[in-house]
Symmetry: C2
Subunit: 640 residues, 2 copies
């Protein structure tokens, strides 16, 4: 059994977002990549390719990894073509691919920075120079483009480059024993292997992963060869790029959070392909480290701006949360791969948490503004005036100098249909709830599953089976960990969920007939969520969740000085309905107490009580913050 | 009437500290200044002078302001000699002064950095190079040394240098219209003027103050002359050193907090000497800015490590408090001078707040370890692991690379007797309560005031008058702002305080007879103090104070995870008694609730309540923290 196609309905939460990528985001980002968005930081990514291809004259501009912005955008575009044919976008992709093809060097090498600026310095600094990282993004784009269009021009480019790299790196005598400072190529090589069947690509991925962290450290060897005195990044340590230990010996998530996610994703891929239990165990340990001790409630990760990095257990300050959009995206990648290793709800729960919260907050409701960092608390004046908050922005930006996040979120959103279902033997898993249709291919023919739901705003999910002939398979439906009181009916029969549950999935094995339906009911009251008591930053505070959605409070709804609002422990919080200004999101209302600052006077400190007043409060989904008047925001609110 | 001498009793709080400076701190710091403290950062300050004097060979080492460490130490030593004759210390001072004298150049210039390293660059970069700053500290040391010993060797050195500077800077044609990047010389010149009567020094102080912030900005003129492209300090702005506006136009305290304090102190001095109302008004506006909106409860100021600076109103994070020891010392200097301008309790209240809390926390109980920054909340793991907390230390240090604070606290503590009383015409003010004796000189002869008190641990203060003949004068006794229910008896008569009070001082005008006594009673219950509601960082929290003492909670008394302790709003807090381990400080005890982390499990987030337990809590004076086992600390504690 395999999944042939997944279409999401445009009326649904994700379907609408998927559509937006093709209609708004990809065209917008094309303008940005060509420096046609007024006021946006310069990209020059496309022009770099034109110059390297000999089609234009000029200097390279941007970071050494500038190429990856274009590749990720092209990957996103390709997913859009899978979701919805679009001849104009496809033609644009073909034009871009033609330029990329021309930028490839005769020996297969492809990187505009080194081709234009430093051809003599190829592969001399794997630690900093992102050549392998960019290659990985090329491979991912190529695989997606082939899958979307059946055209193999970019795939051929990718394979030529992959072959070039395979000839350069590996354990064999005469090859460099290096690996990338920024993981990415590993998971991309697995994708390339899966598509082409070329075992050389899998072997190279395995080499990069196995070699990482071995002593003597390759990064130190190459640094010595360059005659380098100290690393370019002042805070660089081997742990920054997860090369402090061989990967199988790593137990805590450390260093740059995006690098960690891409590496762990590749480890999970490799574990699946090679059935390597030692890698599985390492992935599981690291999973616990991230999700039990080093993750924000939004699925944001990396709580330090310095190094965009993990720090230590339970260190999760709300105002200085870095929580890079790319890191949460990486967490989704990793969770998705862990699910393939082990169909356990705990992975899907985190995937869903990150998707609806820490990932989605990275893009404005209209698709054209982006957050790089995703704080859980913002006091705009502090962001503007405090040096230690200089990287916390309180308004989304049209683009960035380092623009990794915008095209990353584009490619993830465009590929959401791929995250909803999976198949394993005769089991079809439903990981996410999203209105749409999935066509399954069985030996006996096609089966279509139709999901109808208003999720995440309502907890009712109906799944209908369309099949010509009755067909035997197992439907495994995720019962989200956030739901306390789920129930499930097949046709008219209430099922005993407990007896069906296996690792959080309700498994219904039967001969399905045409028109049969499953009705899942996931009651979603407003919940007050607390953090582990070891988290200092959230002491005395709760966050509101409803279903998978984390809520927040904004100044535009609640006035300034959110810190002085206290939610009484018995205060009722009610669903207010859908707000068309916020993309029809469900918002919450309640009453709270707030310190009446006007009653205080001008003393800075005094042994007197505060005057409190009762105030209405309103919470909106965290992902939707900063789409109206800029101001304060907080996810965690005091409870008293 | 004037004060002839003040001696503090060694049994009293300040008397003990004053004694410690002479017996422990000054000898210890002499070792540090000569690089004889094992494990301490290198100072080289004394050796720099020996080299500049031609008495030793070698290279200059340290900051461009390294000389000031020695000057401040010498000033401290001189105050010790005033407090208590000590032939050995005096001989040491003479030896040091001899070396300083030899380091002075024939033209009067004196700065070891420029003499040894860059003689060609004298006076070329007033913005960064601290030549005028170091000169100011020389002048202060010289005045103190002369007053302590009657010897004028150092005073002569200071005058020669001051004359050299006066010939170099000023409004007259041919002179540089510059002023120091780091104020200090201004207040020192006023001291020099007051001692010598030389009006040139007052005029130069006035020039430096009046010229500051005038356009075109001198720092930009001299930078252009140097051909400089951008300032050495990346965050430099004119506001960093209070040169963004002429001083009379400044309304908010901005920039480097120590510089601000030294400048405002000089402005107050100048205002007093010149009766310049525009300067008085500027001082008052800035006073409100600092003490009503930009000061920690401890009297700590400067809430940003970047630039050691003020930020904006009510931005007072506890964990990232910079609150440099020198800045609180500067606040004491300024408050002391504001008191001379206007005998208003509000200045003395802040002076006392800073002295007992934000200043005193800068030195260990044993006198040999120092804090540079004085946070109000510490989680050691975060200080060790978070880059944005890298400058927050949780243990005092034996010395610093930039060692401004240790000798600064030494000179302030040694001079505490000068802060207790003041005289104006026939009024003698008592600003601080400290066991000891003050000898007053009146036209009719000497009067001795004897203070007996256990302050700040007890609120009873007895003041006895010793006089041969009955003598008419006014005794003005500060009634601290923190006290809600003070009472005062003269001999056996209960006084009507309200009718005596003038700007917070109880003024008793009478003909005093020998043996008469005043008994002041200042009840000091434990108070729960709140911050202005606009302070986000302290929302929902209280600080405990008793009398002038701010309390804190340490892990060694209360276990880890202080954030999870909640003080019930009705919890009684009792005085526990005196703790000999903490220099006989009064400590507090009570019961509180604390989240039982062991009952939580391993979920990072869950919609479940915490289990609470009742725990005993103990608070100790903030200044005494970090004298036992290192660990967490907090001043502000949640109240519920």
């Amino acid at each position: 059994m395999k999944i042939q196609s997944v279409k999401l309905h445009k009326s649904g939460f994700w379907g609408k977002r998927v559509e937006q990528v093709g209609e708004i985001i990809v065209p917008y980002q094309w303008q940005a990549l060509n420096d046609k968005v007024p006021g946006a930081p310069r990209s020059h990514a496309m022009e770099n390719f034109r110059i390297a291809a000999g089609l234009a004259k000029g200097e390279f501009y941007g970071f050494v990894f500038q190429d990856s912005d274009l590749y990720k955008w092209l990957e996103a575009l390709s997913y859009c073509l899978m979701n919805q044919p679009d001849p104009e976008l496809e033609r644009l992709a073909d034009e871009v691919i033609e330029v990329i093809t021309k930028a490839q060097q005769p020996d297969g090498y492809l990187n505009t920075y080194f081709t234009i600026k430093e051809p003599q310095n190829r592969w001399k600094n794997l630690r900093d120079n992102h050549e392998l990282y960019c290659a990985g993004h090329l491979f991912e784009a190529a695989v997606a483009n082939y899958q979307a269009t059946g055209k193999h021009t970019l795939l051929d480019v990718a394979r030529r480059f992959a072959d070039h790299i395979a000839a350069m790196f590996g354990p064999e005598p005469g090859k460099k024993r290096g690996y990338p400072g920024h993981p990415e190529i590993e998971l991309a090589l697995v994708k390339l292997y899966r598509l082409t069947g070329e075992t050389r690509y899998l072997a190279l991925a395995k080499f990069f992963i196995d070699e990482r962290g071995q002593k003597p450290l390759y990064f130190e060897i190459e640094a010595k060869e360059r005659g380098e005195e100290k690393p370019q990044l002042p805070f660089w340590t081997p742990g920054y790029c997860q090369s402090h230990l061989p990967v199988r010996e790593q137990t805590e998530a450390v260093g740059h959070a995006v690098r960690a996610m891409y590496l762990y994703s590749a480890m999970a891929d490799l574990a699946l392909e090679t059935q390597d239990e030692t890698l599985v165990k390492a992935c599981q340990r690291l999973w616990e480290s991230v999700t039990k001790r080093r993750m924000y409630i939004t699925g944001g990760i990396g709580s330090s701006a310095e190094g965009e990095a993990f720090t230590f257990d339970y260190d999760l300050p709300s105002d200085r949360a870095y929580a890079e959009t790319c890191a949460s995206i990486g967490l989704v990648f990793w969770a998705h791969r862990m699910l393939r290793l082990d169909a356990n709800r705990k992975y899907a729960d985190i995937m869903e948490r990150a998707l609806y919260n820490g990932v989605l907050s990275g893009v404005s409701l209209d698709g054209t503004k982006y957050f790089y960092t995703n704080p859980l608390e913002v006091w705009p004046k502090a962001c503007q005036n405090r040096y230690d908050l200089r990287r916390v922005l309180f308004q989304r930006q049209p683009w960035f100098d380092c623009a990794c996040c915008p095209p990353n979120i584009a490619r993830l959103l465009a590929s959401i249909p791929q995250y909803v279902y999976s198949c394993e033997k005769d089991v079809v898993y439903i990981h996410l709830f999203a209105a749409g249709e999935a066509v399954l291919e069985l030996p006996s023919g096609q089966v279509t599953l139709i999901q109808e739901t208003e999720y995440p705003w309502e907890g009712e999910v109906t799944i209908r089976v369309h099949t010509k002939e009755p067909v035997q398979f197992t439907l495994a439906i995720r019962i989200p960990g956030w739901c306390r009181d789920p129930s499930l009916r097949v046709n008219r029969d209430e099922m005993d969920l407990a007896s069906l549950l296996e690792k959080g999935y309700a498994k219904i094995k039967r001969k399905w007939r045409n028109g049969e339906k499953i009705q899942l009911s996931l009651p979603m009251p407003v919940e007050r969520v607390r953090a582990h008591p070891e988290v200092r930053a959230t002491a005395g505070k709760v966050a509101l969740m409803r279903g998978p959605i984390v809520y927040c409070f904004e100044e535009v709804d609640n006035g300034p000085n959110l810190a002085q609002i206290v939610l009484p422990s018995d205060a009722e919080l009610v669903v207010e309905g859908r707000d068309p200004m916020l993309g029809n999101a469900v918002t919450l209302r309640g009453m709270a107490t707030k310190v009446d600052a006007s009653a205080w006077g001008d003393e800075l400190y005094a042994p007197i009580p505060y005057n409190n007043k009762t105030v209405p409060i309103r919470a909106i989904p965290y992902y939707a913050w900063a789409n109206r008047t800029p101001g304060e925001m907080t996810v965690w609110i005091r409870e008293g």
